[in-house]
Amino acid sequence: MAATFDQIFILFRNWLVHFLPPAWQPAAGALLGVIGIVAVFPGLFALTTLLERKGLGRMQNRYGPNRVGPFGLLQPVADGLKALTKEDVVPFNANGLMHLLAPLVMVVTVFMSFAVLPMGRHMELVDMDAGLLFFFAMGAATELSVFMAGWSSRNKYSILGAMRAVAQMISYEVPMLLSSVAVVMIAGSLSLPKVVAAQNHYTGIFPHWYVFTPWGFGAALMFAIAAIAETNRSPFDLPEGESEIIAGYHTEYSGFKFALFFLAEYLGMFALSGLGVTLFMGGWSAPFSFLTWIPSWIWFFAKVMLAICVFIWMRGTLPRLRQDQLMNFAWKFVLPYSLLVLLVTAFWRFLPPGWERWVVCTVILAVAYVVMGRAAFKLKRVGPRSYRYAE
């Protein structure tokens, strides 16, 4: 019974598709998969906007939105309606085509990066041999659309915001790749379902997730920092911070195009937290061995929502980093530490399994973290500010 419930979507799709003549069946199956993704994630996006505003409210000792619908559940519908009915103002000498193309390219590329995420047992849309590389290739394309948005609205603030956003996304993409390469080194394959399969077994009741190994925890930490920076969220949301340069690269956007940017940002959050969950927290595998009867896709979406709550938690807590602090932090702490994590993963890979490799790796990572942390403090780049103006 549990197996059928676990594979319910696959069986449902096969049942739907078998009405068609066999020639069209694979295409129809793929189409249904795409429709599934395009329906589920914008729905989750609507839920997350509400979750975010209520969560932030509760953190600041106030209720979140509770006017529209019971407990504010219809708030996303209200926001969506507002975004759709707002007038879509395009600046006079803006570059019409690029101004329209930027949000579309961003949303399309982010949606394409969902193709490789395994959302359940056998539930990845495309089982690519180089799935992780495809994911990052799509991530790289979003930077270009950010720049197109910034440049095509021909407004000084949006160009500034776009340049800052692109610089930030590029400098945090390198550590993100490096930390996921560590996982590939251990899992032995770039294909995400194989990565999940490598983590999907248990000793006693505890799973073999990579986040519980020393190198995995270090890599997960760096991946989390890079993911938050890659989606321009919370402590790293300088490019679109309201108090900074108005709204950065989407200053000149309004109405539907602005809603598309908003959707793209949240889908980017889902994609990256989905990838983080797949790489480090065992994708769709159950947290304890006695819980495996619960369907696999429930675990994937539960972990993704947990990651989204961490995003929101960070947003409710941390002040915004300045551009020079942000870039220094990327190149002088996150990147070196990711390289070190890669080295430690190599040790882990080639040391015989046993307590020695646990000790060796943990000691190296801990000492490096403390030493580099203090060094970063001493350089006054990352620590509390002692200078009046950024030189």
Binding site: D129, L133, A137, G139, A141, L144, V166, I170
Partner: protein, 166 residues
């Protein structure tokens, strides 16, 4: 004779021509991106998955944006260049046409000798990894050193004048 091949190659060539002929330098940079994306799809058409994604990641993800940054930093985005073409532009075009004729002729002349239909080789990442670590480990290290040198070199070359000769 497959339709997608013609579509993609038409897109690529259109992007390349646009990249070379547009007046505004920034439009050229974006046309270059379209051409690079087209080439990436051609690689995927040739079942070279790894190279296709690497192409997207490296070229569209980094090089195209680098070009765009350069265009903005040297402020050649706004000012339309007075004379679009170099003084010796006619000679340039002639040379390009001649090279294309020679290459085209050589391809067409040897067309019958080229193998047309072969089974698509299934290349797994495992094989690429082993090849990179096996016979090609030396070039890999050389490229690593080269990339580091290039990064450091580019930073020093482009570093702010005042900071450099301090």
């Amino acid at each position: 004779m497959s339709i997608p091949f013609y579509l993609i190659s038409a897109l690529t060539i259109a992007g390349a021509v646009a990249a070379m002929t547009l007046k505004n330098t920034l439009h050229c940079a974006l046309a270059l991106t379209i051409a690079l994306a087209g080439i990436a799809f051609l690689f995927l058409g040739l079942d070279a998955q790894f190279v296709g994604f690497a192409q997207i990641l490296v070229y569209i993800g980094a090089v195209a944006i680098l070009v765009v940054f350069a265009v903005l930093l040297t402020r050649s985005g706004e000012s339309l260049l007075p004379a679009k073409r170099a003084r010796t532009w006619l000679a340039g075009l002639a040379i390009a046409a001649v090279t294309f004729l020679v290459l085209g002729w050589s391809v067409l002349a040897s067309l019958y000798g080229l193998p047309n239909e072969t089974a698509a080789p299934s290349v797994t990442m495992q094989q690429i990894g082993n090849a990179l670590m096996g016979p090609y480990v030396f070039p890999l290290e050389v490229v690593a050193v080269l990339l580091t040198a290039a990064t450091v070199g580019a930073v020093i070359v482009a570093m702010h004048e005042k900071a450099r000769n301090k």
